[in-house]
């Protein structure tokens, strides 16, 4: 086998930068083909995506708003993945997290606003984590595969929330399935308020303070996974469960812990959506962000430093994509769901497609330089 490369000789930037970029390019190439099949011009679509996401200040703010959501759900998937758990229930955990935010916020409205925010963040985290608990417990104790149980919990969360929004917590003066709005002073300051401080007028922006919470969450995950005993144990269970057991590490405890933190992080999505944007629970607000988190995490190689650019890329695709759907009648937002699938395929399942060739190419080149 000419392709076998000594892993220690491969420079970090080849395996962590060049290979992912090649995989991403392949994914985008296939996506361009889909746009062509749908009867539109891929080059024109790319131009629209770039204009929509960078071309004007409101558009760029939208890009960062989507980035915020994808950081939360990407981190959520990554934490569980380090324990070899596929938490694809981010969607449901975020939905239930929203219930936590709303219930906390309306019940502590007498407190000072920053405290309400902190308690709401805790509410989002706890409710999201709680929704991940049963799948986690069943995986740890009964070996019920977490992929199926978390998917089922997405369906159940959706039914439960629609029921609550229609029959229990609906704003009874309105027709639509949503709650009453939270009082204005609880709303997280938006980019519009921030820009106004500098005298810049923006009509509307969904970007809000949650962006900073997402950055903080990234640091939290980095610290937890790589700098604490908990993180070490979680990774040990994920890497080799038998070895972890011999080392006295409990897989049961770590599976549950990883899933709870993962569910909690997914729950934080609702801080952005509810405290930041909608200011009430609207039916279906997680809108697929939970699933996109899978692609974000796999592209970012499950590390916060990789997840940030991956989340930003998906922010560009979402915001630029809505520009495309506006201008191209044949393209709907589902085209960008397909693009996510292709990205997961190339940067996840097929990540080894060209890795050996690329790595041996660079190793041979570097060796030649050393010899010369």
């Amino acid at each position: 086998m000419g392709n076998v490369v000594d892993k220690s000789k491969v420079p970090w930037w080849v395996s962590n930068l060049i290979v992912p970029l090649v995989n991403l390019s392949l994914a985008l190439l296939v996506s361009a083909l889909f746009i062509f099949i749908a009867g539109e011009n891929p080059a024109k679509a790319i131009k629209l995506i770039i204009y929509g996401s960078f071309g004007y200040i409101e558009g760029f703010a939208y890009t960062l708003y989507y980035t915020t959501n994808f950081i939360f759900t990407g981190l959520a998937f990554a934490v569980a993945f380090h324990c070899r758990l596929f938490n694809i229930g981010g969607e449901g955990q975020a939905y239930i997290g929203g219930l936590g935010v709303f219930l906390v916020a309306i019940n502590v409205s007498f407190l000072p606003v920053p405290i309400i925010w902190l308690l709401s963040i805790a509410g989002a985290f706890v409710f999201g984590a709680a929704w991940a608990f049963i799948p986690a417990y069943l995986q740890a104790k009964r070996g019920s595969h977490v992929v199926i149980t978390t998917i089922m919990f997405n369906f159940i969360a959706s039914s439960l929330m629609v029921y609550l929004l229609v029959d229990v917590i609906r704003d009874m003066d309105q027709m639509g399935p949503h709650t009453v709005a939270l009082p204005k002073e609880m709303w997280l300051p938006s980019f519009k308020d921030f820009a106004a401080l500098f005298g810049i007028k923006i009509r509307y922006s969904p970007l809000n303070l949650s962006f900073l919470l997402a950055i903080a969450a990234s640091f939290f995950v980095w610290f937890l996974v790589w700098k604490t005993k908990w993180g070490y144990e979680m990774r040990a269970v994920g890497h080799n469960m038998q070895a972890a057991i011999y080392a006295g590490i409990s897989p049961y405890k770590n599976i549950i812990l990883a899933m709870l933190i993962s569910g909690g992080l997914a729950g934080l999505l609702s801080i952005n959506e509810i405290l930041g944007v909608h200011h009430k629970i609207v039916s279906g607000f997680p809108a697929g962000y939970g699933f996109t988190g899978i692609a974000v995490a796999l592209m970012g190689r499950n590390h916060p430093i990789g997840i940030f650019p991956a989340a930003f890329l998906f922010g560009i695709l979402y915001q630029g994509g809505s520009e495309v759907t506006f201008d191209m009648p044949n393209i709907t937002r589902y085209m960008f769901v397909a693009v996510q699938g292709v990205i997961i395929l190339f940067s996840g399942a097929l990540e080894n497609l060209f890795r050996p060739q690329i790595e041996s190419f660079f190793v041979n080149r570097l060796n030649r330089e050393v010899d010369a």
């Binding site: 070996g143 019920s144 089922m152 159940i156």
Partner: protein, 323 residues
């Protein structure tokens, strides 16, 4: 008498509703018995529904639609094999990729080709499969019991319903009574032993995946060219996952998986029947909650309250040939 006809109509719907689950569970048995995890049943079923509906519409013949669906699903199975058997990628990631890709692609293409709603055009009667009335069904209807069973329960289904239940003994026979089936099971249990015996592990897994693709295509075609007369967004509605749960609950065995599928079908039939019905002491159950019953049942079955499920031992692991 009304009670009896209630039972008959409930049994009739159970058989119909379980059909895609049965095909999917049988497809899952082939893949997983060979050691390849298949969470992508959901995506493949959706793909088959889309391709069958589009094919039947363009060629005016449901059989051509079915054939195209088979080609599409076998291709997706081969893609799964290419990623996870040949390139040893993560099998679950590959499945998740296929599912998300297909949810997006089918709806995006339906919208691009047929308008924003993402529906394919309604098929006319000669573009789709119709209910089959079994011979003498009308004549026998008046006979008590036999008439009820033959004419009201067994007769009047789509061809896929009969094929699904026919597939169960065939799958059982292939998997457990032929040398091919023995080899499929062996590569799922102990691939290195099979390799030592001179059988190509990769080829066996690809063959099992090809059969998996054919079987799952029937499930999708049933949804879009028989029960419904068009494709709509995410019309598989989690059935691929339910079937997988049924298969696991049935311990990767066709007979027990069939029973689990029928249980799902029955709950769903009952759920539809109970919508808006006033129950004693409980009252009317809200429709959103009652719709969640099959999903809750899936979790309960997976929790294995009836015994722990033991998967084929090499499942999920790519085979790496030793040198």
């Amino acid at each position: 008498m009304e009670f009896l006809s209630d039972i008959a109509s409930l049994t009739n719907s159970t058989l119909r509703i379980s059909t895609p689950l049965v095909f999917a569970a049988m497809a899952g048995i082939f893949a997983e018995r060979s050691g390849v995890i298949d969470f992508s049943l959901e995506g493949k079923m959706l793909m088959a529904a889309f391709v069958a509906a589009v094919g039947s519409y363009f060629f005016g013949n449901p059989w051509i639609g079915l054939l195209m669906a088979i080609v599409a699903c076998v291709s997706l199975s081969m893609l799964h094999g290419f990623a996870s058997v040949t390139h040893k990628g993560d099998q679950v990631v590959s499945c998740v990729a296929i599912n998300i890709l297909i949810i997006g692609l089918t709806t995006a293409l339906a919208a691009a080709w047929f308008g924003q709603a993402g529906l394919t055009p309604t098929l006319t009667d000669d573009q789709r499969f119709l209910e089959i009335t079994l011979p003498f069904a009308d004549a026998l209807r008046e006979i008590p019991i036999i008439g009820l069973i033959y004419s009201d329960i067994l007769s009047g289904h789509y061809i896929f319903v009969y094929l699904a239940y026919l597939s169960v003994p065939i799958v059982y026979w292939v998997v457990f009574k032929t040398s091919f089936g023995l080899r499929v099971r062996a590569v799922g249990e102990n691939p290195s032993a099979v390799d030592t015996a001179g059988i190509n592990v990769f080829k066996m897994r690809y063959k099992a995946l090809a059969i998996n693709g054919v079987l799952i295509a029937f499930a999708g075609a049933h949804l879009s060219t028989a029960v419904n007369a068009n494709f709509f967004r995410e019309m598989s509605a989690g059935r691929g996952y339910l079937a997988l749960a049924a298969m696991i609950f049935g311990k990767w065995h066709p007979k027990t998986a069939l029973i689990a599928c029928l249980l799902f079908g029955f709950t769903d039939a009952l759920q539809i029947r109970l919508q808006g019905v006033e129950l004693p002491t409980i009252g009317t159950i809200p429709v959103q909650l009652i719709q969640a019953v099959p999903y809750v049942l899936t979790v309960i079955l997976l929790a294995g309250f009836v015994g722990k499920a033991i998967a084929p031992s090499a499942i999920g692991q790519p085979y790496i040939k030793e040198r």
